[in-house]
């Protein structure tokens, strides 16, 4: 039962005497036994939402176990398994079709997402720290421009970036994808907002008084305090690069350099065009299934890091 103590700004769990360790959600319901009916209603609503959000993934999982014929005329219908289980045949098919190029695409996606994501995060952490903790000439002007840049649609930059890169001779190289991915104005904004509160100036001054240089202060004093925000920015930029479609579609034409998103889209376009031997529906479906697993696993296992972090920007 939650009791309002004087000075009720104390953390919620202090006033929560019925379960002790539970969050305030349970404390609040302690005195509200009457709305059991509403609770059932809420759960029904949740179940409907979950069914909506999960059905496409369920379909994908089931469809990945079918061969092409099974996809069209499976005995169990589209949302249930066919009589034959072909997942491993399909995965073997991914190794054979066009010399196993699918795995190369998947590898490219990993490589682009990690290098672009890590690079963007490093730049954002450094710049956010610089903006938050130093008062250099031009700081406010630059930061205002940066805030404006958050609102520039990144896709509007794709075509001009393509032309610039082609003048530099970088089109159709890995750099054409990685270098533009390093740009993350929103990441810098998040890091600045977070650094401002998480790293007290007194601490920096104390480190300086003890004789630590600026770099040492940054690496040994500030960086450990910034970890939650770093994980969030890293996650956001890795997901952003992993998801990217327009940029690689525009700047890459060599099939060996494509990320898995563009590659699968090409297969789908070919299959729909209906060219005889190019109809590889089962491989597209299985390829899509395999390619979503890493990120789903990453999100489920890194829950405690991103759940608080994704809202950072709003808590300014």
């Amino acid at each position: 039962m939650a009791i309002l103590t004087p000075g009720a700004t104390a953390p919620a769990d202090v006033t929560d005497t019925d379960t002790g360790s539970r969050s305030r959600g349970s404390a609040r319901r302690g005195n509200a036994g009457r709305d059991g009916g509403r609770k059932i209603g809420s759960h029904v609503l949740l179940i409907i939402l979950v069914i909506y959000f999960i059905t496409p993934l369920w379909w994908l999982t089931v469809a990945a176990t079918k061969d092409t014929a099974g996809l069209f005329t499976g005995s169990g219908g589209p949302l249930w398994f066919d009589s034959e289980f072909n997942l491993f045949n399909n995965i073997a098919g991914l190794f054979e079709h066009q010399g196993g190029i699918y795995w190369r695409w998947l590898g490219n996606s990993f490589f682009y997402a990690l290098s672009g994501g890590v690079g963007a995060t490093i730049l954002a952490v450094l710049a956010g720290y610089g903006f938050a903790k130093y008062r250099f000439r031009g700081r406010n002007a630059f930061f205002s421009v940066l805030l404006g840049a958050v609102m520039v649609p990144m896709t509007a930059l794709v075509i001009p970036t393509f032309v610039l890169l082609s003048n530099m001779g970088l089109v159709n190289t890995i750099w054409a994808v990685i270098l533009p991915s390093l740009l993350s104005p929103f990441g810098v904004y998040l890091m600045r907002v977070y650094t401002q509160d998480a790293v007290p100036d007194e601490l920096l001054d104390a480190a300086r008084v003890d004789g630590a240089g600026e770099l040492r202060t940054f690496f040994q004093v500030s960086l450990p305090l910034l970890r939650p925000a770093i994980v969030t920015v890293l996650l956001l930029s890795v997901v952003g690069t992993w998801n990217n479609f327009f940029l690689p579609l525009a700047v890459l034409s060599d099939p060996n350099l494509l990320p898995v998103t563009v590659g699968l889209n090409n297969w789908q376009a070919l299959s729909n065009a209906g060219a005889g031997g190019e109809q590889v529906w089962n491989l597209i479906v299985t390829g899509a299934f395999v390619s979503v697993l890493p990120l789903i696993i990453a999100f489920l296992s890194l829950q405690k890091y991103w759940q608080g972090g994704l809202s950072l920007g709003a808590l300014k």
Partner: protein, 320 residues
């Protein structure tokens, strides 16, 4: 700069709270030298910012001022391309289309996200934790894969719609026809993003001090009133942020219609959205000058639109 030792938390300026014993000029000089480190920290980002944002924008603007024809080569034509763009029925139709997507799609996503977040905030059962994850999971799916998946689900050949509608004795609608493609796209985007917005709103709700709810309840407010009159106003800055994300994303709509085009050729023309138009101008017709003008014009519309929106909601968002 003022040297005050009193202020216990000198907001943005790390240099203020230093003991003011030494002569002022010496401190100032040391201090100014140290502040230069700020540039060193910002420099790597600044280089990328200039190379991949300022330069492409500037270059796009420069290209958009030129016109290239086979007969006369490239000539400087000032704003002729913009005049052409803003009277080009294809571009204007695309702009109108993304505007109507924004009007339908953003409220749809916000509503799903807000309802889910409010429900989840009131529960702490195992089912609610599970639901929170499942509603969020589509965010982890690349947009292309999401669109491909829905393309299969919509397709009369692969999808379950025929069976599901058959159960209740109806014939399934064609989700990929000209009349239905709009709603089909709205559904894909809502499915993909509502969970992400839900997490942002949910985190904001968890940040509210529960004592406020107790106070409202003592005043006789019921659950719904607390949700609508207390919770929603208190998370308005998160809502504004979500809206801005959604607005910027919607106006540059590209991936979903581009992917669905392969299965719904008749319903989605190459110029369905301004971005698709610019893409096909550049890569199918090699009209890079005009494509740059379209990209730049779209950029201006998005920028002005989101700026206007931020201005109109400055009270709710707390931004000044």
């Amino acid at each position: 700069m003022a040297l005050t030792e009193a202020a216990p938390k000198p907001a943005p300026n790390p240099a203020v709270a230093r003991p003011a014993r030494r002569p002022r000029t010496q401190i100032d000089r040391m201090d100014r030298k140290r502040q230069r480190w700020g540039w060193l920290f910002v420099a790597p980002f600044a280089i990328v910012f200039v190379t991949f944002l300022v330069a492409p924008l500037g270059y796009a603007f420069w290209m958009s001022m030129q016109t290239s024809t086979l007969a006369t080569g490239t000539s400087f034509t000032w704003f002729a391309n913009y005049g052409k763009a803003f009277t080009d029925p294809i571009f204007l139709e695309g702009l109108g289309r993304v505007a109507s997507f924004a009007l339908i799609m953003i409220p749809a996503q916000m509503l799903v996200a807000l309802v889910a977040a409010l429900v989840l905030d009131n529960l702490s059962t195992a089912l609610s934790k599970f639901s929170r994850l499942m509603i969020f999971v589509p965010y982890a799916i690349p947009v292309v894969i999401g669109a491909l998946m829905w393309g299969f689900l919509y397709s009369p050949r692969f999808g379950p719609a025929t069976d599901i509608f058959g159960l209740v004795g109806l014939t399934a609608p064609d989700f990929l026809s000209q009349g239905t493609i709009f709603a089909s796209l709205v559904n894909i985007v809502t499915w993909q993003w509502a969970g992400y917005y839900m997490i942002i709103i949910y985190a904001a709700l968890r940040g509210i001090d529960p004592a406020i709810y107790e106070a409202a309840r003592l005043d006789g407010a019921n659950g719904r009133q607390i949700a609508l009159r207390v919770k929603v106003p208190m998370i308005s800055s998160s809502m504004v942020m979500v809206l801005i994300f959604a607005l910027i994303g919607t106006l540059q709509f590209f991936t979903e219609p581009q992917v669905l085009r392969a299965v719904a050729q008749g319903a989605i023309p190459v110029s369905y959205t301004p971005n698709m138009y610019a893409y096909s101008l550049a890569f199918s017709y090699s009209q890079f000058n005009y494509a740059s003008a379209i990209s730049f014009a779209l950029g201006i519309v998005v920028f002005a639109g989101s700026y206007l929106f931020l201005f109109l909601t400055r009270k709710q968002s707390g931004l000044k």
